[in-house]
């Protein structure tokens, strides 16, 4: 058996199938490397997508392998040998499963190790997901094998592959997250993969695996019926168990991790790896802000319950407007944008002084220019690039036109032309207006002629 298994591993199409699974998985995870390197939820999302694609390949590869016996007319020769049918299939099915699981397991395990090493906050549901993911992949391969054995047509392999992708597209196109979809997004910064998702995937994987084994190995209709039953049961269980909201809020991910010394700067546990640089920039910003009376003594990273905020996907612009931030007096919030897993947010200090440290107040601010004027005044800069609160995480930032920069510079000059005490008074008043969510006429507060 071991000998025959080795022959199958080397001489069947298993190496080709395994190589293509490797390439597709490596491509998916390689292209998104920076997104998941420090983030378990992102990793869970990407591995799901990789498995969703490679399962289609595995099924097609299995179908080609299953068709081999009839295509090469070896069935005539094999029919006169004594091994029971299930034993004849065992090395082939074994080689396919081993090839698929080994290759995909290797890539996923490497990714898990990378995240374990690089993430500040550990959430192990993505690790448990490894088993079900591999079961789904091997199960898809074995079902393909069974299909190829049942219908030895050249159309089975492309039909299966296209069909599996088609089903996933149907789920995506329906717009509602589907429990069986492998292409749901929904991870956000402070979430973890729900345990029920792992359970649901485990049910699906077990169903596919059992069905694949029984359908490939037996010619007995009762056993085949059992296999079909296992498939239906697995899919049904997955449908029932898997929640629509696949990522759940994890309070541990939002726990604040704070720097030593004063003033205190805190980030959420997910971003603890960026604490050092954040502290440096935040203290610099707090220093600038201390020019105003009643200045904040402490800065914490903006955080909120992403589900309560209706935030299901970090890549959309559904942002937590209209939620009043829950901060103690003397503490200000900042938004930490760590692009591509970097340990530093290059614009953090500027975003903190923009709007005199009061821009993340839950109000919708349509005009970021007055915020920039306050930022320029605080940092003694001639002009200041406007920063829209909550919108810093845009994939393609639009540069500010030079005439707008000039207009902001002119406004700053106007503010600076006032007596110093009035300058401080006006900026303070501007800050109070922001805190109270009075978002109209902000520029007037800063530079309108007459007494403030």
């Amino acid at each position: 058996m071991i000998r025959v298994l080795r022959i199958e591993l080397r001489r069947s199409n298993v190496p080709v199938v395994a190589l293509s699974v490797f390439l597709v998985s490596a491509l998916v995870l390689g292209l998104t490397f920076r997104e998941w390197l420090r983030d378990w939820s992102q990793l869970a999302e990407m591995t799901e997508q990789a498995v969703g694609l490679t399962a289609a390949l595995a099924a097609a590869g299995g179908a080609v392998l299953g068709r081999r016996e009839k295509r090469s007319r070896a069935d005539e020769l094999f029919a006169g040998t004594g091994r029971p049918a299930w034993q004849k299939v065992a090395p082939t099915a074994g080689a396919l499963s081993i090839g698929l699981v080994a290759v995909q397991g290797l890539i996923l395990a490497a990714a898990l190790v990378l995240v374990r090493v690089n993430a500040s906050y550990q959430s192990y549901s993505a690790v448990w997901q490894l088993g079900p993911d591999l079961a789904v992949l091997a199960g898809a391969g074995l079902l393909g094998l069974a299909a190829g054995r049942a219908w030895s047509s050249a159309f089975v392999a492309p039909g299966l592959a296209a069909g599996l992708v088609l089903v996933q597209v149907v789920f995506s196109a329906s717009g509602v997250p589907h429990p069986l979809s492998f292409f749901n997004s929904g991870a956000s910064t402070w979430t973890r993969l729900a345990d029920e998702v792992v359970l649901g995937r485990a049910a699906l994987g077990a169903g596919l695996l059992v069905a694949g084994i029984l359908l490939a190995a037996s010619r007995n209709w009762a056993v085949r019926g059992l296999g079909a039953g296992a498939l239906v049961a697995g899919v049904a269980a997955a449908l029932v168990i898997t929640p629509v909201q696949r990522f759940e809020v994890d309070p541990a991910a939002r726990r604040l991790v704070c720097s030593e010394g004063a003033p205190q700067v805190c980030v959420t546990a997910v971003h603890a790896y960026a604490l050092a640089d954040t502290t440096r920039q935040a203290r610099e910003a707090l220093g600038h802000l201390s020019q105003l009376p009643d200045a904040p003594q402490r800065a914490i990273e903006l955080n909120y319950d992403p589900v309560a905020a209706g935030l299901t996907d970090t890549s959309t612009s559904t942002l937590p407007w209209d939620t009043t931030p829950d901060v103690a007096p003397g503490t200000m919030q900042f938004e930490l944008v760590l692009k591509d897993g970097a340990a530093t947010d290059p614009d953090l200090m500027r975003s903190m002084v923009s709007g005199a440290g009061a821009s993340l107040n839950g109000c919708r601010l349509d005009d970021p220019r007055p915020l920039a004027v306050a930022g320029a005044w605080l940092t003694d800069a001639p002009t200041f690039e406007p920063i829209s609160p909550y919108l810093r995480d845009m994939p393609f930032p639009i540069p500010t036109p030079p005439e707008e920069m000039q207009a902001i510079g002119a406004a700053v000059a106007k503010l600076r032309a006032l007596p110093h005490q009035q300058q401080v008074q006006r900026v303070s008043e501007f800050r109070e207006a922001l805190r109270a969510c009075r978002t109209k006429g902000l520029m007037d507060i800063l530079i309108a002629p007459g007494p403030a």
Binding site: L53, F155, P158, A161, S172
Partner: protein
């Protein structure tokens, strides 16, 4: 009147089966998912991809070596085979209303080229894999517009006006059809040549 080699050619490659399967997929998806005479663009892309992938297994026959010895000039027939399959699928897709005619035509011809490249390079059994691997992400992560490389990558998703998509499809079509027409498939050893594709 259809005479001579055409019925034999069609039968030897299972073209009718492939067309029937493709039509079943196209009609099935439409009945299942179309609303108010229109269908989700992602579904249109994957349905086009699936239908054209089914052309893959028809690009070879029982005995490649035997056919290559025949006196018939194969290249024009092979080219015609790919083009006609694509045009037929495109006509059905456009007729039902999957997408505007030009988009469907561009996508079907481009995919025909991709399937042809696959068949010529790796043979009939796996010739459809490149088409699958390029169609799947375009259907799943549907993306329109953006910089030119992105439009090329997502050429199936682009609207009719996108030059990048047209050029991509044209290049694929030209390469695939000429490559497949000339080569047919990778060389097959004597011992293997009598096995069906």
């Amino acid at each position: 009147m259809i005479t001579g080699w055409i019925p034999l050619y069609v039968r030897s490659r299972g073209v009718l089966l492939a067309l029937l399967a493709a039509l079943a997929v196209i009609a099935g998806i439409w009945l299942l998912a179309a609303e108010h005479g229109a269908i989700d663009e992602r579904l249109a892309v994957i349905t086009t991809g699936a239908a054209m992938m089914l052309a893959g297994p028809t690009l070879g026959t029982f005995d490649q070596a035997l056919e290559s010895t025949a006196a018939m000039p194969w290249p024009p027939r092979r080219a015609l085979h790919l083009i006609l399959f694509a045009l037929l699928i495109a006509a059905v897709l456009a007729g039902i209303g999957y997408a505007p005619g030009w988009v469907v035509l561009r996508n079907c011809l481009g995919l025909a080229g991709l399937v042809g490249i696959g068949a010529a390079l790796v043979g009939v059994r796996y010739g459809w894999v490149p088409a699958l691997l390029w169609t799947a992400p375009q259907a799943l992560f549907h993306s329109q517009g953006g910089p030119v490389p992105q439009q090329v990558l997502f050429w199936l998703d682009q609207p009719a006006a996108s030059t990048a998509a047209i050029v991509t499809a044209a290049v694929l079509f030209g390469l695939g059809v000429s490559f497949y027409a000339r080569r047919g498939g990778p060389p097959v050893s004597a011992a293997e040549s009598a096995l069906p594709s």
